[in-house]
Amino acid sequence: MKIVVRNLVKIFKVGSIFSLKKLTAVDNVSFDILPGEIFSLVGESGCGKTTTAKILLGLEEPTAGEIFYDETPLEDFIRDKKEFLKKVQLIQQNPFSTFNPFRKIEDYLFKTVLRFGIADSREKAEKIIDERLSIVGMSFGEVRDRYPNEFSGGQLQRISIARALLTNPSFLVADEPVSMVDASLRISIVNLFKDLRERFGISVLYITHDLSTTYYVADRIAVMFRGNIVEMGNTQEVLDNPLHPYTVLLKVSVPIPNPETSWDERVDLSTLEREEYFTKGCKFAGRCPHVKEICKRLQPPDIECGGRTVKCWLYK
């Protein structure tokens, strides 16, 4: 499935009536996700990546902008909720809060199959469930009659991926799918996305703050900062040779598991994180080492630069 996002804007109103401020959580964001592509949105908390995902899933109303799923606008596509959810599925961050602790795991799986009319009897449903669970390396025997607390975080995350696969989706939104999973099991979850893409041609929107798994799994990457996409392009190109000063900062801050690499430079943390949303010019200007006069006054445009888009005056 091809997803086209054009000039997406989401403005939240914050504060009381007297100090009402408009916070632009998503600011003029445009990107495409091609069929069978793993597209990654990367950024710090509060950069608008989850808000973007919520808008794509129709859980949040955009202030402005357009979204097309295979040329159908989102508003038309979502009118038939069942059909929409069949095609578009979500995988959430915390596998422990995805499932109600008082409900059996199989209950979730059967309900999904029967409600979406994928199978008409429990026997057929069981076959489909077993097949989907085998994709994620589990079997129906393992989940029969068991409650969520009997599984580890990694297993639960696998089950929630299998549940999402039950409807044969063509687009998966994965919101920080591995940040709550143990380090030793993390890579196996990430591998699943690679396999799904190869076997079924599913498009994946992979939202994360972890650059090392992004580099491992994603085809294309968009780096978000305070609501803007500051750099977008091929993952390998962007992360091997970042252009935007914020991407550079992100890249060098990743703790590489090798004690021989060390941080020589000191990092400047912003003390006015909320204020950065309200600045007029480039939102990174307060911390940027290459800041110029124009950066503080005017927001930089999206500049094409060797096959990728960079939002920075440096490359004008």
Binding site: S152, S184, L185, Y215
Partner: protein
């Protein structure tokens, strides 16, 4: 180097009684290690391997259902020995903050939401020293300046600060009385990479300046690589490997450490990596023999029957594995 912390055969279990069923969770199951003065000692492991419980016991915080079963934790402050597992409440109060301080997990949420940051600091200083309010007021400001934190923060409420700033405030709070030993539980977890780097930088600064001893618990091997000078890896309540960090990453000996380090993706490398099969064991129902044998690719029959001891293989390396012993 003088050994400031000596942990011997430490066993601390959770005893849970529910509907007449007694469950014993063996969270710390025979741990011994020594930490030298001025060292940054890292404790690594997955969730549910007992690393946070170990840190709680090191802080003398054993409240039911957690109970100390065996062993001792001995601190050596200026040749005054102190067994924290056997001191009374009064002494514990005097030792905490001034000699040992603790940064708990999720510590950005420990600040009192209805008190300004300055008040929280002054409470701590007034409680543990004989400073007057006035002196404490300036002492706190001086300390904030020394750490490079903005003074504006002192007059805000915790909810007005970002998560990263709250985390740095909590670390400042734990270190304001210049303790000899700082225990930090997952100090950088749930922070963004850039903020995480700032917190690591802050911890390093404090360590360099105050010449204190740091014991850091985190599951993130990347953080250990940048912070710790010596690392021990825990699995199912036990130490499976202990080594200086450069040796640990270059040449891990225990199969678990090997798989753990190999499973970490890194920038600039898209080669396919594999995770460790299976899942960590439940601490209330440990497998017989070596607790890692159900997931270990090189398990032999001896691994299923007897548990390997933590043996010294080199001067500063210890490993608990039948394969390494020979």
């Amino acid at each position: 180097m003088r050994e400031i912390v000596t942990v011997e055969n430490l066993k601390a279990y959770y005893f849970i009684r529910f509907m007449g069923n007694q469950t014993t969770v063996r969270a710390v199951n025979g741990v011994d290690f020594k930490v030298c003065e001025g060292e940054i000692y890292g404790i690594a492991g997955e969730s549910g391997c007992g690393k946070s419980t170990l840190l709680k016991v090191l802080f003398g915080y054993t409240k039911p259902p957690l109970r100390l079963v065996d062993g001792s934790v001995i601190y050596d402050f200026d040749s005054q020995k102190l067994n924290i597992t056997a001191v009374d409440h009064q002494l514990l109060r005097r030792v905490r903050w001034k000699y040992i301080s603790y940064v708990p997990q999720g510590s950005m949420n420990v600040l009192n939401p209805v008190r300004k940051v300055r008040k929280i600091f002054m409470d701590v200083v007034a409680e543990h020293t004989d400073m007057s309010k006035e002196e404490a007021f300036y002492e706190v400001e001086k300390y904030f300046e020394a750490l490079g934190l903005p003074l504006r923060v002192l007059d805000s409420f915790p909810h007005q600060l970002s998560g990263g700033m709250r985390q740095r405030v909590t670390i400042a709070l734990a270190t304001i009385l210049k303790p000899k030993v700082i225990l930090a539980d997952e100090p950088t977890t749930a922070l963004d990479v850039v903020v995480q780097r700032g917190v690591i930088q802050l911890l390093k600064d404090i360590h360099d300046e105050q010449k204190c001893t740091l014991i850091i618990v985190t599951h993130d091997m990347g953080v250990h690589a940048h912070l710790s000078s010596r690392i021990c890896v825990m699995y199912a309540g036990k130490i499976v490997e202990e080594a200086p960090s450069n040796k640990m990453f270059k040449d891990p000996l225990h199969p678990y450490t090997k798989l753990l380090i190999n499973s970490l993706p890194s920038l600039g490398d898209r080669r396919r990596r594999e995770g460790i099969p299976g899942a960590p064991p439940s601490l209330s129902n440990l497998p017989p023999g070596c607790p890692f044998h159900p997931r270990c690719p090189s398990a032999r029959s001896v691994c299923m029957e007897r548990e390997p001891a933590l043996v010294t293989v080199e001067r500063d390396r210890r490993v608990a594995c039948w394969m390494v012993e020979g």
